[in-house]
Symmetry: C2
Subunit: 273 residues, 2 copies
């Protein structure tokens, strides 16, 4: 994973941890280059910062399953991450990381790491990737759109078979999406980037007319190290009950291998809430 140390890529530059402070916490800067709809710092990016910290303290390289509870909004700028080891095992290790912003705990993450086998993972069953036109025949989701607050859209490129209803002002009522995704600057995704990417697209609940959504909890399962190239993705909201909705997200690599799946529970906001 020589890429992880290449500072020329935005992801590596912005998911870098600074020195450990006197209390044993990692110091870091939360970048303003990964803001999602509403101009708020993206939850997957915040989870990724915690995953980076766990990567530092655990004895295995690959995140296997990581759960994040989002407690408070985070402002771009200085932050700290406190970590602790829960268990170091023979095949897995588990730790906890809490990100503090403006002196308050904002995200708490528990993650179990492992080491994936080299080479393609033996797959007995898995969902098939979506049937998409080739990336070069698909549409650039945001070409021609103006979403200046969504700085994340400058970092990540999305290719869609057709423009989604929420973007053209006519929500479809069908909260599903299938599309291609990659980092715009050419960085290939690795296992450590997947916890960011599962939360890197607009929530499909937009297709139900919900204007905004705040993640309460997000769990990502990383299943294998992705091969280089475009990632194909499927996002699905299965329920909107009371104030809450879910979103499932799956990512396949360029060889068609399912490499990550996530689920989140989120608060459906009104325009004013």
């Amino acid at each position: 994973m020589t890429q992880a140390s290449a500072p020329s890529y935005a992801f590596d530059a912005d998911a870098r941890l600074g020195p450990v402070d006197a209390d044993g916490a990692f110091t870091l800067t939360v970048s303003d280059r990964w803001n999602a709809l509403g101009g708020v710092v993206n939850g997957g990016y915040l989870m990724t910062l915690c995953v980076r910290a766990l990567h530092e303290i655990l004895s295995f390289p690959d995140p296997l399953v990581v759960s994040a509870h989002f407690l408070r909004p985070v402002a771009p700028g200085p932050a700290r991450i406190r970590t602790s080891v829960a268990r170091l095992g023979r095949r897995t290790a588990t730790g906890e990381a809490s990100l503090y912003s403006c002196g308050k705990e904002a995200v708490r993450v528990i993650g179990t790491f492992t080491e994936f086998d080299e080479g393609p993972a033996r797959t007995l069953i898995a969902d098939r990737p979506p049937d998409l036109p080739a990336p070069e025949d698909a549409l650039d989701l945001l070409e021609g759109s103006r979403l200046p607050a969504v700085t994340m859209a400058d970092r990540i490129e999305y290719r869609v078979p057709a423009l989604p209803g929420w973007l053209t002002g006519r929500p479809s009522g069908d909260p599903r999406a299938e599309f291609w995704m990659r980092f715009r600057d050419g960085r290939d995704a690795d296992a450590l980037a997947l916890p960011l990417l599962v939360d890197a697209a607009a929530p499909v609940v937009l297709e139900l007319g919900v204007p905004r959504s705040s993640t309460i909890e997000l769990t990502v399962q990383v299943l294998a190290r992705p091969a280089p190239g475009w990632l194909s993705c499927r996002a699905t909201t299965r329920h909107l009950i009371g104030r809450h909705h879910d979103e499932d997200f799956q990512i396949w690599d360029s060889t068609g291998l399912l490499v990550a799946q996530s689920r989140q529970l989120a608060l459906a906001r009104t325009a004013s809430s």
Copy 2:
């Protein structure tokens, strides 16, 4: 929820917390009446003990989303649960609970609680319940079967449209199941029982010939308080990649409302591992 204090039901008796010890931890006894396949203490039951502890310390009655990482096996007998509050908010509160067995941390849980509205939850979209024969026309899953190590089967009743392949010695290759479930002793499920029930059935990966499975991480989303009566359930494994598989579990109440969904990542074991 007057039921929760009725000691005559097995669930209430066995999910009861004892006094707080000098270190501020809840003392309790892990019952041997909720053992799963392999004779091991069921993960959902252990999560439920932690949910009970969070229920004590948080200011909201209903678990909304709870994530558990399973660190070590737990022996029936005395145990302790340490808790801490992460955030008390206006509409939700989040806390952490760690269950210690034989002096070691065995389960770590983060849970966010809320208070559900009284009455049926407003449902905009949700998966429909499975199309099952009425419980009285369905088969008792375990009638005639001898699974003496699985003490949980004495607590919970399962009604199936047809006996599953794994039980009759011919795994079907299709890791899905749909069935009815309820407590045998007549206790109706409430929101606090759902984190147990999402993990209370045999893993559907048995249909792939996997003899045993150990949960690494389990997240449950509770969507509403269930109405009294039978619960209908759907369990699905979508991937078995390398040594790991997932399982999704959904529960609908007797009115057809989706009340819980969970996902777990688990280690597929061989007969000897």
